[in-house]
């Protein structure tokens, strides 16, 4: 085995009250792998990836991220959050800070980088997502696509080893989707380990090593893109694909 295991989920269950949101999730993700998760709304996609950085707490089973098991121990949660970057559907930039400060905040306060160095690095990443010319503006002054790229840069500034994307393009106007996907493709080509919840099947075909279809809290099907689109096994997957393609 040459590959390095980054994320391991074993028999993970989660309930919201009576609602069984995650039902026996088993998943292994190696370094550099790109996983796309799709499935109908409410099927538990967001909950699954939010369990990986402990924005949600799972109730049964084990989640191990880079060798550290997620428990209530706040130090291991902090360590894992330092390794895992997340991009949200609604961007969730900090509206009271400039784009540059959004990006340098965590490196300064969590990584303890000197201010100048953190800003320098933030500029580097902003250049990579091509909004370095907007660095001194506030989030509200940017378009949706620019905001989402800034949010990606903010996550990258922590130099994470894993990136989670929760429907990063769903809140965007159609003409801005491409600029965000382009950044994500570039990131994938750079070797980042990525889990992406999205319905952008073009993106999935292009970069995914494996596509996971979820329904009612379960992983129904997990295959490489070619098999996923050409020979889906489950009826539920077929129905879903016929709806979105």
């Amino acid at each position: 085995m040459s590959s390095e295991l980054m994320i391991e989920m074993k028999n993970v269950h989660k309930w919201f009250g009576e609602l069984h949101v995650l039902n026996d999730i088993n998943l292994e993700i190696n370094k550099g792998e790109k996983i796309v998760i799709c499935g109908p709304s409410g099927s538990g996609k967001s909950t699954l990836i939010r369990c990986i950085n402990r924005l949600e707490e799972h109730q049964r089973g084990n989640i191990i991220v880079e060798g550290t098991e997620l428990t209530n121990d706040s130090r291991s949660i902090e360590r894992i959050r330092g390794e895992v970057g997340m991009v949200f559907q609604q961007f969730n930039l900090f509206p009271h800070l400039s784009i540059l400060d959004n990006c340098s905040l965590a490196p300064i306060w969590v990584r303890k980088l000197p201010k100048a160095e953190a800003k320098e690095k933030a500029m580097e990443y902003l250049k990579r997502v091509q909004i370095d010319d907007q660095a001194h503006k506030y989030p509200a002054q940017l378009s949706g696509g620019q905001q989402q790229r800034a949010a990606i840069a903010r996550a990258l500034c922590m130099e994470p080893r894993i990136m989670l994307f929760d429907e990063p393009t769903s809140a965007l106007d159609p003409e801005m989707i491409k600029e965000v996907l382009d950044v994500m493709v570039g990131l994938a080509q750079g070797g980042m380990t990525m889990i992406v919840v999205t319905h952008e099947m073009g993106f999935a075909k292009e970069v995914a090593d494996s596509i996971i279809f979820m329904d009612e809290g379960q992983i129904v099907e997990a295959k490489n893109p070619k098999d996923f689109f050409d020979n889906p096994e489950s009826e539920r997957t077929k129905t879903f694909l016929s709806q979105i393609l």
Binding site: N53, R54, L55, S74, E78, R81, G82, V84, G85, M86, F88, Q90, N92, L93, F94, P95, H96, L97, L105, A106, W109, V110, Y138, P139, A140, Q141, A151, R154, A155, M158
Partner: protein, 360 residues
């Protein structure tokens, strides 16, 4: 056919004075009626007031007999100005109070001038070193003669009580608000109880308790200064109100801000200090300043425990046989000074809101 492709600007609205009047004051019959009655009201109120305050008023002289004109007798204020501004603070030591005012004034002006550097340092100086200077300068020590707090009074005392109350109640209020929203049930319960008790009691009762009941709970011989007891009362009272204001701001924060902060690895206190509080406090600036203004005016209640604040001392000098019958002048003067301070806070609040506005 030729098409001219001229740039089209926005329509120019030419109003002029007449146009403005018609649009804003006389747009229809009830608007005109309101305008005319408003003008009439001003006509019967303003001239007599102006006459009494300025035109017919007495400004020069030293006793009540110099007040020969019909209008206000400002000599009354002028002759008692030391009492009204400083209470019984010893005259030879007044420079100490004025020195403190001066520091405050200079730092305040510095902070108000835009684009100056090192404002953070001035702010830190005001919050950390300045209070120490105040205590030493005002009450004595380090070679300065002690001045007991029972001699403090007038506007000076009002500013001390309001200033200490305001400055200390905000951080306490923030902590109480965070505590009330805490996931730990014990912390949340304790904070809720604390807040609701203080909010349920009128300030006047708080002051009475601080002055009369508090000593009963203290061991024999331990005797807190009356002013300090009043300060503690005012501080917690104000903190409880602020806590609810701040909690409102916290509740208005979108969940995504908490999640994004956690996702980049900020711990609870850093998330609060760097992301959540800056935004939620900004949202409730008007309400916070509203609480400050209320506290400033409520300091007048300390009279009931025998502290002579600004208003108290004005009422007191009005009972001096030499100056009987000038209470109108006293109250008008008090109202004017209170208005200046409260309006300044209100103005600052609007300025701050504009300055901190970064859109949403």
């Amino acid at each position: 056919m030729s098409t001219t492709n001229k740039e089209i600007g926005p329509p120019v609205i030419e109003l002029g004075v007449m146009g403005w009047l018609r649009k804003n004051l006389f747009s229809n019959w009830y608007n005109s009626l309101l305008t005319i009655s408003g003008l009439y009201l001003l006509y019967i109120l303003i001239p007599p007031l102006v006459n009494w305050i300025f035109l017919d008023a007495n400004f020069v002289g030293s006793t009540r007999d110099d007040c020969t004109n019909e209008g206000a007798c400002w000599i009354f204020i002028q002759q008692n100005i030391k009492l009204i501004f400083y209470g019984l603070y010893p005259t030879e030591e007044l420079w100490r109070v004025n020195f403190v005012y001066l520091i405050l004034l200079i730092s305040g002006i510095y902070l108000l001038i835009p684009n100056l550097k090192r404002k953070g340092w001035v702010g830190a100086f005001l919050l950390i070193i300045f209070p120490i200077i105040c205590v030493v300068m005002l009450s004595g020590g380090l070679g300065l003669e002690a001045v007991e707090t029972r001699l403090w009074g007038g506007l000076f005392l009002t500013l001390v009580i309001a200033g200490v109350g305001i400055v200390l109640s905000l951080p306490i209020g923030v902590m109480l608000a965070l505590g009330r929203r805490s996931k730990l049930p014990v912390v949340s319960l304790l904070c809720t109880i604390f807040i609701e008790i203080w909010r349920g009691v009128p300030l006047i009762t708080v002051l009475f308790m601080a002055s009369n009941m508090f000593p009963l709970f203290m061991p024999e011989g331990v005797n807190f200064d009356k002013l300090i007891r009043a300060l503690i009362g005012v501080m917690f009272f104000s903190a409880a109100y602020l806590a609810e204001v701040v909690r409102g701001g916290l509740q208005a924060m979108p969940k995504g801000q908490y999640e994004a902060s956690q996702a980049v690895g900020l711990t609870y206190w850093r998330m609060m200090a760097l992301v959540i509080l800056p935004q939620s406090l900004k949202m409730v600036i008007p309400a916070i300043i509203g609480s400050f203004i209320a506290i400033f005016k409520d300091t007048t209640l300390v009279l009931v425990i025998g502290l002579f604040d600004f208003l108290g001392i004005i009422q007191f000098v009005g009972t001096n046989p030499d100056w009987l019958g000038f209470s109108h002048e006293g109250y008008v003067f008090a109202a004017a000074v209170f208005w200046v301070f409260c309006y300044a806070m209100s103005w600052y609040s609007q300025r701050l809101e504009k300055k901190l506005d970064t859109g949403r």
